[in-house]
Amino acid sequence: MQTSLKLTVAAAVLLSLGACASKPKPVAEETAPVEVVDTTPAPTETVEETVVAPTGPLAGSLDDFRVNVGERVYYDLDGYRLDSDDQEILKRQAAWLASYPKVRILVAGNCDERGTREYNLALGERRASVVKDYLVSLGVDPSRIDTISYGKERPIAAGSDEQSWALNRNGFTQIVSGSTS
């Protein structure tokens, strides 16, 4: 069988991946929730005999808020309503915020892993907003409260079980600024 070959270059498409493709432009550090710094005083060597009174966290400190007030409320499955336990915690938060009027807070809404990502982002926003609204109803100036949703991106319990999921469905009140160090 006779075959004649004819070559025709039909199209030449050139597409180049620019220099930055593997080196995206630098991005600013996230102002992520600030981890509480352990401010436990170092043990003091004393020659003289002194009575050291047991001390709790410094009043107005991050530890004070965490230990004596409570920083998280917990939601039912798929829920966003505050039960009486949650309301007690938020009342303590409001009272504490009244005592330390320079403090600003960020309320984060969190969800368990048993939902889809985008719906959970919306649900987390709704949860954070419910906390904010309740604090505002107790007299906290809304301008002191920011909200954020992490959806299912910020679990605090690593397990994949009912107990972990219950812990991960929370509203997290975090001191952003203005606390005693």
């Binding site: 102002t31 990502r117 982002l121 994949s160």
Partner: protein, 451 residues
């Protein structure tokens, strides 16, 4: 580093005839219920040059692409009788019939004087005893630089797939996803990209900020996604070619769940304000945005129909997350149930439904379903009829369509505590398979066909 990813010249070869043009018999039906893969023989390509290894690799990728569809079965080379195949000589069909091969691909690899490589191939219908024309030509020849050899292989596989199935091609594409590393409580999430077959994996963001839900523009090498940059969760555009990231819009609240319109000219997204999430559309040229839903329930995850007339989304206005369709212009819609409403609910099965994605063909919506402690990927007609569940696992989430609408990619956590992995499944529900990634991976999205 400047890297030429692709420099590809295609050429049609062989202007003149082989066998007389009678209709070839070989046709693979992708939707048949009782399905048997079509046997194909693709011997290693003939070599005109020195790099036999590269020629074999190209043949391997062609075979792997076609095998990955589940539609074809590659014949064992040990069974091949004819060893003296040549691109320009008709094969001895009897030698291929006797090993029950329906289709035979004969290819030739060449090294060109300018340093480029060229691959030519022909597809033979063994039983009809004739060459199968591709775009009217009895063969195809593709040329590129040696480092870009995988795209030649994908284009050859696309040609064969399209010729045999009648479906549009999809191998010469990429998949963007979120690469996950680190312990569960301190997950690092980076934007990453790979070829459709998992080759050439690379990170696009450094992981300092959590990034989520990337989606490809249907018309350009551009992505929209959500990032927590600056501590604010917002929707960005990301240009793959330049690496440039750009904040989309000036919304006071959190923006998330972005997705391009099918023409690539707009982005649909969700804004949450004071706890309520509603859907907006932003025109990328004018940068004007328009609110599309105004409801106290959660409305999110919008996806536009290919004709741009309607939008499917997730809403919990009925008490649990379900799928709804609204008209893109906000006008009332005639619902399948008969009534007219701002939005028509299309899911009524047990459980909740979310992450709807309208198919490129327009007739189906892919979704994630959650019911009875399991997650499923499924499809449903836009009229709410014909729901089919394609997959089931501890967690299956976030489907996206191949550009030809035949394959769905999604992510799976196979059991409690297992990290997420990328999987794909044929629209028929057959051929579930894992796409291997170097790290855990989630939120896959398919690119359009590369240009």
């Amino acid at each position: 580093m400047k890297r030429i990813l692709m420099a590809l010249a295609t050429a049609f070869l062989f202007a003149t005839s082989f066998a007389l043009p009678s209709a070839a018999q070989l046709q693979v039906r992708v939707t048949d219920g009782n399905f048997t893969p079509t046997p194909l023989a693709i011997p290693d390509f003939q070599i005109s040059g020195t790099n036999a290894e590269l020629a074999r690799q190209i043949s391997d990728v062609v075979r792997a692409d076609l095998t990955s569809t589940g539609l074809f079965e590659m014949q064992n080379p040990a069974s091949f009788i004819q060893k003296d195949l040549s691109l320009d000589v008709q094969p001895r069909f009897a030698d291929w019939k006797i090993i029950n091969t329906d289709g035979l691909v004969v290819g030739q690899y060449e090294e060109l004087p300018d340093g480029k490589i060229a691959v030519s191939f022909r597809l033979w219908d063994v039983y009809a005893g004739e060459v199968m024309r591709i775009n009217g030509q009895p063969g195809r020849r593709l040329t590129t630089t040696p480092d870009n050899w995988r795209r030649i292989a994908h284009k050859i596989a696309d040609s064969i797939y399209t010729r045999l199935t009648g479906e549009d091609p999809y191998f010469d594409t990429r998949i963007v996803y979120i690469a996950e590393t680190g312990p569960k409580l301190e997950r690092v999430k980076r934007l990453a990209i790979m070829d459709s077959d998992g080759a050439n994996q690379q990170y696009l963001t450094p992981g300092r900020n959590t990034v989520l839900t990337p989606r490809f523009s249907p018309s350009a090498q551009e992505i929209t996604y959500m990032s927590y940059e600056g501590g604010k969760p917002r929707v960005y555009l990301f240009n793959i070619e330049t690496g440039r990231q750009e904040l989309l819009g000036n919304f006071p609240g959190m923006t998330f769940a972005p997705r391009f319109s099918r023409d690539g000219q707009s982005v649909l997204l969700t804004q949450a304000q004071r706890g309520n999430s509603d859907i907006y559309i932003m025109n990328l040229r004018t940068r004007e945005s328009r609110r599309l839903t105004d409801h106290p329930a959660i409305d999110t995850s919008p996806s536009m129909s290919p004709d741009g007339d309607a939008i499917v989304f997730t809403s919990d206005r009925g008490g649990s997350p379900q799928l709804y369709i609204m008209n893109a212009d906000g006008s009332p819609r005639t619902c399948p149930s008969g009534g007219r409403d701002a939005a028509c609910r299309i899911t009524f099965g047990k459980g909740s439904y979310s992450t709807p994605v309208w198919s490129p063909r327009g007739d189906l919506v892919a979704f994630t379903k959650q019911s009875g402690g399991k997650f499923y990927i499924g499809v449903i007609g836009v009229d709410g009829k014909g729901e089919r569940l394609l997959t089931e696992a501890y967690l299956d989430e976030g489907p996206d369509w191949s550009p030809n609408g035949r394959v769905i990619v999604y992510f799976r956590e196979s059991r409690p505590g297992a990290g997420p992995q990328l999987w794909s499944v044929d629209l028929s529900g057959r051929n579930e398979q894992r796409l291997k990634t170097q790290t855990d991976a989630s939120d896959p999205a398919w690119s359009p066909l590369l240009q």
